[in-house]
Symmetry: C2
Subunit: 445 residues, 2 copies
């Protein structure tokens, strides 16, 4: 069985912990069974493995998430990246083309598509198992997961059933985001929420994709990605499908899309360096900085602190965060990359704005390294504060360790590789300090 | 007339903006007449100058505040530093010995002692003028300022009067911090709060000091400072004085000792990089970081953010800040020094705690410079990001400018002097990174 996890989203709703390159599914805030913290993505992949589903996992995502995903999941998953951002139908189509053309899966193999960030219990994965059995038993072309509605929400799509039952039921039709009166009526009639989980045979989707594109190879499909229509899988596939069934899921299922919802599953009142007075009530604090946070006498409050910003929000108002945060146009101040992590620790701009500096603390993980690169508009000074590694500078390789410093002038090609976890402080000086000022070159150590 | 301003306090109550070396009177948060911000100390000195009092100002303080005071007030005030922290009587005695032995003031000259942080209107300074006139008219040996009580506070000392009047009145006795019932009784009898402002002839205090110490010079007095008793001026002088008068003050007078009180005089809802939603009410935010702060739907809240920490406090609870903050034993993360300012931007400790780094952004003001110094337990890498200056390294002097980097190994003597405002990022690497690891040497540029 092939399982495709959709990992997208720019994630402003859980700002400041999520930012443009660090979506909410990557936040390591959930309590893991071993006492550490895990992200929504790590939790889902752990649950898949523990569920007994014999699934090969492929993650459909954007190029900018590859580093974080590799960091969090290692090399045991496949990753398919969209060349450009379109919608869920083309993203799923491309992942299926990868399974067909690159992984050479059989057209009869069952594929399950699901989001990467549901907060659910083990029943969710048992339900996926039932969906796979339904596909294998040819109950329908497309089998989806129905969630028992808990309120007349106007945010979800509703699945209207032909019959009622406990396991697999035939679907009559879909109603996307109805008003609350209509929603109530649908629920009274036994409709379920569409949980965004779909199961089908690989060949079924390949047939639909062939209407838009007939590619000889995965590489060709990727190059012709723009030919696939910008439309969601729900509209392009689910609503048009002639034969659809649904398996109802009963259990814990939450959309951790707001701080209010997330705070309920943190398992503790605070994470990080936080002191709260005894008269604080219903206050949750997440602090990823080394700087201490003190809360005194607060009520119904979310406080979230990261290198990107500081949020103080009334719990009932936390959905209003997004419009304010959209007015902030800072670069990401924290990123997880293929090679490790960095944090911006200082920014300076002279009054004339032409002299700027940006200082980062980088950690390269043992065995990993940066690309061989060059900048046009900035000098860099690196001071190694811990670990050992190798530095390539204009073709010459030398060992570096704690206490060393190196001056990299604009135009100099450079790369660094960690032998043990390597920490360094980088001071960038120039007139235009962006991640885009970079040219990459081939290099072999 | 000589005016002694007492500048002390470790200032945890306005944490995180005040820290051990940056007391509340230095916070540049009050609206100044020219549209900029000024500190409580700057405000008081400006008000003294605007009041028409012809006063020479001497500031009695600790060694660690000299840099900040010079930064904020320039060279137009005298500064007397206590060799060790004792209490207000020895501090005032030492300042008076300075006036007598070093400044050679006449024993008949009037001295006024006052705190450096009252938030008062101009009438406060007119009242000081009346106190000076009362001393000059020999109404009493000691004249103090009486504040019209606004509540039966148990925090203040009360001055019980012999008679009633509008201007100068004879004092019968003092009652320190009575319980609230007694306070009410005192107020009904016409008692005033003791405002902590005292006027007397220099010779009067010299006579009292001579009971403890007869020093030939100010330098000798400073060396023998420990011989002066650890006692407040109120107990040692005011309560024992045979002839005391009081001048009542009527006007605005506030103790800005809590965030709640301070927020009332800020003149705006937020300072720094702050976004608040429209449904925030009675929320004040002070943010001295470059990191944005977003507040959504909050009520009756103080948010204060600095390199030292993040405070989120209900306004009515802001007096409970201190016990929590006392549990934080961080070094100061921001300081104003004689030569400029620094901010700690990153700290790192390896798991074995033996490898550490600390990164600071320093700004040396044009014309100023650091001492010529050496560290035993750390290397430093300096990257200059703006400005021009001179660097002395083991006796050799060279020019430095934006884009330069220098490696200072442990044991190397070094100093820097700014020609134009000089910004640099300093990475310290070692096993014990404290401000105490320093040896200073003489050096002339």
């Amino acid at each position: 069985m092939q399982l495709i996890l959709l990992s997208g989203g720019s994630g402003k709703r859980l700002w400041p912990l999520s930012n443009d390159s660090y979506s909410k599914q990557f936040l390591r805030l959930l309590p893991a069974p071993d006492g550490t913290k895990e992200s929504m993505l790590q939790r889902v992949v752990r649950q898949i493995r523990e569920s007994g589903l014999e699934a090969d996992v492929t993650i459909a995502t954007g190029e900018n998430q590859v580093g974080t995903i590799r960091n969090q999941l290692g090399d045991k998953v496949s990753i398919v990246t969209e060349p450009e951002r379109r919608d869920t139908f083309p993203a799923i189509a491309l992942a299926c083309l990868y399974l067909e053309k690159e992984k050479l899966c059989d057209k009869d193999e069952t594929v399950v598509v699901m989001p990467s960030d549901p907060y659910a219990d083990e029943n969710y994965f048992h339900t996926i198992g039932k969906m796979v059995s339904a596909v294998e038993a040819d109950v329908a072309d497309l089998v989806l997961m129905g969630i028992e509605p808990t309120c007349a929400s106007t945010k979800y799509g509703y699945v209207v059933l032909q019959d009622s039952g406990e396991n697999v039921m035939k679907v009559d039709c879909f109603t996307e985001k109805p008003d609350s009166e209509k929603a109530k009526e649908l629920i009274d009639g036994g409709a379920l929420w569409n949980g965004g989980v779909f199961a089908f045979r690989l060949g079924y989707l390949s047939g639909i994709v062939r209407n838009y594109m007939q590619a000889g190879s995965f590489q060709e499909a990727r190059e012709r990605y723009g030919e696939l229509p910008k439309i969601s899988f729900d509209y392009e596939v689910a609503e048009k499908a002639a034969s659809v069934a649904v398996v109802p899921f009963k259990g814990v299922w939450k959309d951790l899309g707001t701080w209010d919802a997330l705070s309920e599953v943190l398992g503790c009142k605070s994470i990080g360096r936080v002191l709260t007075s005894e008269n604080c009530s219903n206050t949750h604090v997440v602090n990823t900085l080394d700087t201490p946070c003190v809360c005194v006498g607060t009520t119904n409050l979310i406080v979230a602190i990261s290198p990107d910003g500081i949020l103080v929000a009334d719990k009932q108002s936390s959905e209003h965060v997004k419009p304010l945060v959209n007015r902030i146009n800072d670069r990401p101040m924290y990123e997880e990359r293929r090679w490790g992590t960095y944090k911006v620790i200082d920014r300076y701009a002279a009054q004339d704005e032409r002299t700027r500096s940006l200082t980062r603390h980088l950690c390269i993980k043992a065995g990993k390294g940066t690309s061989y690169q060059m900048h046009f508009r900035r000098d860099e000074v690196w001071t190694f504060v811990d670990g050992t590694g190798k530095l390539a500078l204009d073709g010459e390789v030398r060992d570096v360790k704690k206490g060393d410093a190196v001056f990299i002038r604009k135009g100099q090609k450079h790369a660094v590789k960690a032998v043990t976890d390597l920490h360094f402080v980088e001071v960038q000086i120039g007139d235009n300090l962006t991640e885009e000022d970079i040219e990459r070159f081939d290099f072999s150590w």
